[in-house]
Symmetry: C2
Subunit: 429 residues, 2 copies
C-alpha cells in the first residue's frame, strides 16, 4: 500500500478501476473526469460507484445522456439507477428500453436492493435433462459461455427448475452421456429471490460457490448469482460495519460536499453529546466533593477511559462474532464468563497499578484505594455491557455496530464517574 | 442473522461449516467436538481455522495423528501447519510425506505466509500452444477439471509460461482450432509469487478474476491463485482492520483462554492508560482553577468527548480510504480542506448549543463562551489529526487501524483539556 502512486485513468482501464479513479477524485476533478469519459466508459463504471456518488454524477448529467447510459447497462444496474433518480427521469429511462429489457428491469424492481432477487443475472444456460454432452458442447460453442459459468441448469417441459450439472462433470463425461446421467449439484445452494444479501454473503463464505441458481417459490428459475457480485456484497458489508463504529454508515463519498457531510456527522455528535452531558450531570452531583478533593477531578478521566477501552474490546469481539454468526444463544453464557474473567484479571492488575500511581502522585493512600476499586468495578461493568449491549441490540433488530459504542460509552462513563466520585465522597471527605 | 439457530454439526457439513462450528464452541466443548470428528473431517476443517485455534487443537492431538492429518491436506496447508507447530513435530510431518509432496510443501515454505507464493495451488492445466481444441477437451475428459478452473496455461518447450487461454474461448471455438489461434488473457493478471496478499486482494477487488497464474522471475509457471482463496484473504483483512481499531489484531478466538486473552488486552489498556495519565497531568496543571470554578470539572468531559468522536469519524474515513488506496498524495490536500470545513461547520453548531446549555446550567455566560470556543478548537484539531495521523503512520509503515485511535485520543484529550481549562483560568478566575 503505497501513497505515492498518483491515481490516473489508463487507457483500457477496467470498469472497477474507472470507478475507483472517480471515487478518489475531489468533487470538481471528479465532475471533469466524468465528462471526459466516453458514453461506454460511463455506463461501465456507473454500477461500481457508491450510491451517493452515483446520484451526484447522474444529477450532473443531461437527461438524454442518462437515458443512453441506461441502454448499455445490465437490467439489475438499470433498476438500481431507477431507484436512485427522481420519478420523471425514471419514467423516461424505462420508456427508452426495449420490451425485453423493460421486463427484466421491472422484474428486478420487484425486489428491494437488499435481497438476492434484485441482483440476479439472467444469462443462464438452461437445457433439458436428455440433452447429450455433445449437444451441450455444441450449444456452448454457438451461444458462448458467460463468465462465472461453472454449471448449467436443467429445466423440465413445464419450464420448472430441476437441478444443476457442473460444467466440470460435463467436460469430464463422454460425448454421448445425457445430462440426467451426470451427478446433480447439491440442491442446498439453490437460492430464493427473497434471500437477504446478508444471508447470501454468509452462505458464500461457507460454500465458496462460483455461481448459484435463483429459483422462486413456484419452482421457476429466475437467474443466477455469481461470485463477483457476492464479493462486492461482502466488501460492502465489511465497509459498512467498519464505518458504522464511528456512526458513518451513510458516508460513502470521501469528498462528499462539506454541508451534507457535516449534517450527517452532526447527528452522531449530537447523540454522543447527550451521553457526555449525562456524564457531566453525574459529575455535577459531586460538586462539593470535587471542590474539596480536587485530585478526584484530575483523575476521573482515567477511570472512564479505562472502562471505555476495555468495554470496546469486548464490544468489538461480540459485534464480529454476531456478524459471522459465531455467537448464538447457546454460547453467550460461556462467553460472558470468559469476558468477565478477563475483566476481573485485567481489572485487578490495573487497579493495583493505577492505585499505586495515584497514591504516589497525591500522597494519599485512600485515593489509591478508591481509584483502584472503581477501575475494577468499571472494567467488570464494561465486560458485562460490552457483551450484552450488542446481543440485545441484535435481538431488537438494531445494528450493534452502529449504536453499540454509544450505549457502551454511556454505561462506562456513568459507572466510572459514579463509582469513583461516590466512593471518593464516602471515603475521602 | 438470527441468534436462535443453535450451531450443530450436520452430517456431510462442508469443511468451512465444520471449522465455523468448532470456532463457535467454548474450549472444552471444542476439544470434545474435535475428538469426535473423523480423521478426514479434521484434515478438511483444519485449514479453515484461525491460527490461534489451529495451534491449540494441534497441541491437543497426539503426534502420530497430526502426521496423518497432514497427509490428507494440500501442500500450502501443510506448510501452514509446519509453520505453527514446534520444530520436532514439523520434522516428523515432513518426513512422513512422499517425495513429491515434500517438494511442494518445501516450495510453499520458501515464502512467508503473507505473500502469494505461500498459498498457490499447483493443480494447473499446462498445454503447448499447438494443441487443438479437440485435444484440450480430451485432456480435460481424462484428467478432470479442478474447481475454479476458468483458463488453461500455455507453456513453451522450455517449460516457460507463455500465456493463458480462457476456458470459454476454448469451448466457443471449433474443434480443429489450435490454442495459439485463440485470444490470450490479459497478461496483467499474471502474479509474482512475492506479491503481498494485500496487493492480491486489491487486484482481486478490481479485476474480479476466478483464477490467476503465478509465474516466478525466471518465467516458470508455479501454480495459480483462485477466487476462493482471495476471498478468504479479503475476509481476514477486513476482520483484522475491524479488530485492530480496538487493539485486538491478534484476538482470533472468541473463547481464547482467560489468561492469554487478558495478557494481550492488558497491553492495549496499558498504552491507553498512558494517554489517560497524560490527560490527567494536563488537568493537574489547573488544580487551583478547578477548585475555584468547579463547573469546569463538571463540563470538561464534554469537550474531550466531542473532540474524540469527531476525530474518530475523520480517522475512520481516512483509514478506510488508505486501505482501499483511495487516498494518495495527490488528494490529501483537498481532503484536508473538506474535513476542516466539516469540522468548522460542526464546531460552530455544537459550540453554540453546548455554550447555551452551559450558560443555562451554571448561569454563567462567560463559561458558555469558554466551552464553546474550546469545542470549536478541539473539533478543528480533531479533523487535522484524524487525517494526518493515519497518513503519517502509513508512511512510517505502521498500521493506522491499530495505533491511529490511541494517538488521536491523546491529541483530542490534551487539546480539549488544555484549551478549556486554559481559557477558564484566563477568563473565569
Amino acid at each position: 500500500m503505497s501513497l505515492d502512486n498518483e491515481p490516473t485513468v489508463e487507457i483500457g482501464s477496467s470498469a472497477t478501476e474507472l470507478a475507483h479513479f472517480l471515487e478518489s477524485q475531489p468533487l470538481t476533478e471528479r465532475a471533469a473526469a466524468w465528462l471526459a469519459l466516453s458514453q461506454k466508459e460511463r455506463s461501465d463504471a456507473l454500477p461500481y460507484l457508491h450510491d451517493e456518488i452515483k446520484v451526484a454524477l447522474l444529477e450532473s448529467t443531461p437527461i438524454d445522456e442518462v437515458v443512453l447510459l441506461a441502454e448499455n447497462m445490465e437490467p439489475s444496474d438499470v433498476a438500481d439507477v431507477i431507484d436512485l433518480v427522481d420519478v420523471e427521469l425514471a419514467k423516461e429511462i424505462i420508456d427508452s428500453l426495449s420490451d425485453a429489457e423493460k421486463a427484466s428491469v421491472e422484474a428486478s424492481l420487484d425486489y428491494n436492493d437488499d435481497v438476492v432477487g434484485r441482483w440476479l443475472k439472467r444469462d443462464v444456460i438452461t437445457l433439458s435433462a436428455n440433452r447429450s454432452v455433445a449437444q451441450v458442447l455444441r450449444y456452448i460453442r454457438v451461444n458462448g459461455l458467460a463468465s462465472y459459468t461453472d454449471q448449467v441448469f436443467i429445466v423440465g417441459h413445464d419450464k420448472k427448475y430441476r437441478g444443476a450439472v457442473a460444467l466440470a462433470s460435463i467436460l469430464e463425461a463422454d460425448e454421448g452421456t445425457q445430462l440426467k446421467e451426470l451427478p446433480f449439484i447439491d440442491s442446498t445452494t439453490v437460492l430464493n429471490p427473497a434471500m437477504p444479501l446478508s444471508d447470501l454473503t454468509m452462505l458464500f463464505r461457507r460454500k465458496h460457490f462460483i455461481s448459484a441458481p435463483v429459483v422462486d417459490e413456484s419452482g421457476t428459475l429466475l437467474g443466477r448469482v455469481t461470485a463477483d457480485d457476492a464479493i462486492s456484497f461482502m466488501q460492502d458489508e465489511a465497509d459498512h460495519q467498519f464505518m458504522s463504529m464511528a456512526g458513518l454508515d451513510e458516508e460513502d463519498d470521501l469528498f462528499a460536499p462539506v454541508f451534507s457531510s457535516s449534517k450527517r456527522r452532526a447527528v452522531w455528535l449530537g447523540i454522543n453529546l447527550l451521553t457526555a452531558f449525562l456524564a457531566s450531570f453525574v459529575i455535577g452531583q459531586f460538586e462539593d466533593v470535587l471542590q474539596e478533593v480536587v485530585a478526584l477531578a484530575v483523575l476521573m478521566p482515567v477511570v472512564a477511559s479505562m472502562g471505555g477501552i476495555a468495554g470496546s474490546q469486548t464490544l468489538t469481539i461480540v459485534i464480529r462474532g454476531l456478524a459471522l454468526e459465531r455467537i448464538s444463544d447457546s454460547n453467550i453464557r460461556p462467553l460472558l464468563i470468559k469476558e468477565l474473567g478477563v475483566a476481573a484479571l485485567n481489572g485487578c492488575t490495573w487497579a493495583i497499578i493505577v492505585g499505586l500511581v495515584a497514591f504516589w502522585w497525591f500522597s494519599n493512600p485512600m485515593l489509591g484505594i478508591v481509584i483502584g476499586c472503581s477501575i475494577l468495578i468499571n472494567l467488570v461493568a464494561a465486560a458485562f455491557s460490552g457483551l450484552l449491549i450488542p446481543v440485545i441490540l441484535e435481538k431488537l433488530d438494531l445494528d450493534p455496530a452502529l449504536s453499540g459504542s454509544v450505549v457502551l460509552t454511556t454505561v462506562t462513563d456513568i459507572v466510572g464517574f459514579l463509582s469513583f466520585l461516590g466512593m471518593g465522597a464516602w471515603l475521602l471527605v
